[in-house]
Symmetry: C2
Subunit: 351 residues, 2 copies
């Protein structure tokens, strides 16, 4: 196991009063109904094991997306759901395909489960072009919208891929889809090789509760359940089951907060463009930005000094970009003010 | 993955008013301090990811057992901790050794991670005899006390094994140790190949919160962390971290409830012996019992009709045994009364 290269998550600082725009958390709290469900669960019944099939949560997701319970799988965060997906569905003779710039946990899973992979480069605009994936493969996975770019592909392109790629599983990782993307859930009944993965961590504002889920043909779900039942009978605690079920039932809170985030994103885009940043149009709750005159790593460090954390990836092709989570309007304003100051200081220094 | 044989957990019935003595849950509720910590955590901060290193909980365990943080690993229930242990520490050229009658998840993990295993038969009293494990191996694992028998081995015998078996990892699975066994935690600083695994599900009465942990030499812990960070950065949610930390700090509740369970176990042992049952002396919160005149499966079915669930394993060597969780004194009395009735009816029927 010494050959593993673990995933390195964004910093979770223990200092208070930081503006934390580095791990794409929701700036608004979870549904009050979810918090209420959690409090109700905090009693003597915690002495009992949680429901191994998380029926209450599966049913809530089923109702929300109009699916059958056999089409839904839940897990301890979408990372666990992804891990089981790699182990259950991607161990094939041909290589798994995913973008060269994407969620950096994918290559980690490949090492963990010894899965051969081939990365497909994003195009020159840093966009996924699904026509590049039409080659022999043992599976395809991509986030939609993609992380860390925020760019989304349309349902038409996904359907084209599904029509032409029928011999392997296609996984659409929709962690950020609720902020403006088009979910492929609507294609599940038509394409038995499609698996859609979502999370409660972003649009449902429950990153701290660790709940993710997958939706697809019941045979794919049965494969995930087989791995889950060989790994951990009770992956979700009773509190997570109840809290997440209540969260997905609260459409009002969900719509209100996600729309606020979308509005703030559009406003922040305009302001950063005003400062000279180039921004990939985002369908997510973050912006992927680069500035032609400033070194991205330096900007990140200068923001850190001002108690603002953004995410910087020291990786080929994207080492001049910053990924900035869309915060509250106040947080966005503080960020823009800080960037103005940094840019002004730099200009003075150069002049 | 079609070759997997998933673990089948004990029934988690959705009917109320059942006396549930089948999955070794604690009949008393969790520490009120744990419940309070959970309620405090049920707020807006759930929008943020939980601490990936679960520092607060690791520190609480460290203090309780007087260890260093580098000697402690936490996970989403001891089942997840066991799974990572099998993947990180048992993939060797020689076979893993474990008892023929033991926690039935062990062979499931072996299949999941393609680990060769050899089972060592319990002796004729259904006891683990560690001198039977002195043979070439790629690891050794056994529960102490063993499940489903409840029999415990002494620290002296474990130390003998550790002295003679220095080339592979020895895992002592102490899910039930707080009900009367001797923990091997005290041997950790002396034997770098010893890993001790415990859970919050039994003596801490938090089965529904899903928290387990491992303690051992920092190199073993580092191996587990490498697998964990390649699988799920945030295996514990914020509520589980805080609730479990508060639970292990509440020594008063822990001592009071575990002593009550031990007293009830001794009383139940006497009563069942009075009904003619043979019972393996138990160091756990359950009894493993057999009756020379009655078929175990029939007794289980007769109890089920009376709304009492106990665990029956249809497996070689133990198919005439029942595993009965020690409940409250009231639950134990209802069980004994039901068994008296069943036995009386059967006698009438036969006579």
């Amino acid at each position: 196991m010494h050959q593993l290269t673990p995933y390195v998550p964004g910093e979770q600082p223990k200092i208070r009063n930081l503006i934390k725009l580095n791990t794409n958390e929701n700036p608004y709290g979870p549904s009050p109904k979810a918090l209420n469900a959690i409090e109700i669960e905090a009693g003597n019944s915690l002495r009992l094991y949680s429901d191994p099939s998380s029926e209450r949560l599966v049913n809530a997701i089923t109702q929300y997306y109009k699916l059958k319970p056999q089409q839904v799988f839940v897990g301890n965060g979408s990372d666990e759901v992804l891990a089981h997906t790699f182990q259950a569905l991607f161990q094939q003779d041909k290589p798994l395909l995913f973008p060269d710039i994407t969620y950096s946990f994918y290559p980690v899973y490949c090492k963990l489960y010894r899965i051969e992979a081939e990365t497909i480069p994003l195009n020159s605009n840093l966009e996924i072009s699904l026509s590049d994936y039409l080659q022999p493969n043992g599976g395809i996975i991509f986030p939609n919208p993609n992380a860390p770019t925020g760019h989304g592909v349309g349902l038409g392109e996904i359907e084209m891929l599904l029509k032409k790629n029928t011999d392997s599983v296609v996984v659409v990782d929709e962690a950020y889809v609720d902020f403006g993307g088009e979910s492929a859930v609507t294609l599940i009944n038509e394409y038995p090789n499609l698996l859609v993965i979502q999370t409660f961590s972003k649009s449902r504002s429950l990153a701290g509760l660790r709940v993710g889920f997958a939706m697809g043909h019941e045979e794919l779900i049965a494969g995930l359940i087989r791995v889950k039942d060989s790994f951990n009978s009770y992956p979700l605690d009773s509190i997570a089951i109840s809290g997440a079920a209540a969260a997905i039932q609260d459409k009002t809170h969900f719509e209100y907060t996600r729309k606020r985030i979308i509005t703030s994103r559009e406003q922040l885009t305009v302001e950063l463009e005003g400062l000279g940043f180039n921004i990939i149009p985002s369908q997510a709750n973050f912006l992927f930005v680069t500035h032609p005159q400033y070194v991205a790593a330096d900007l990140a460090a200068d923001l850190r000094v001002r108690n603002i954390i953004v995410r910087y990836f020291n990786k080929p092709r994207i080492d001049q970009y910053l990924r900035i989570t869309v915060g509250t309007d106040d947080e966005c304003k503080t960020l823009v003010d800080a960037l103005k100051e940094i840019i002004k200081n730099e200009s003075n220094h150069e002049g």
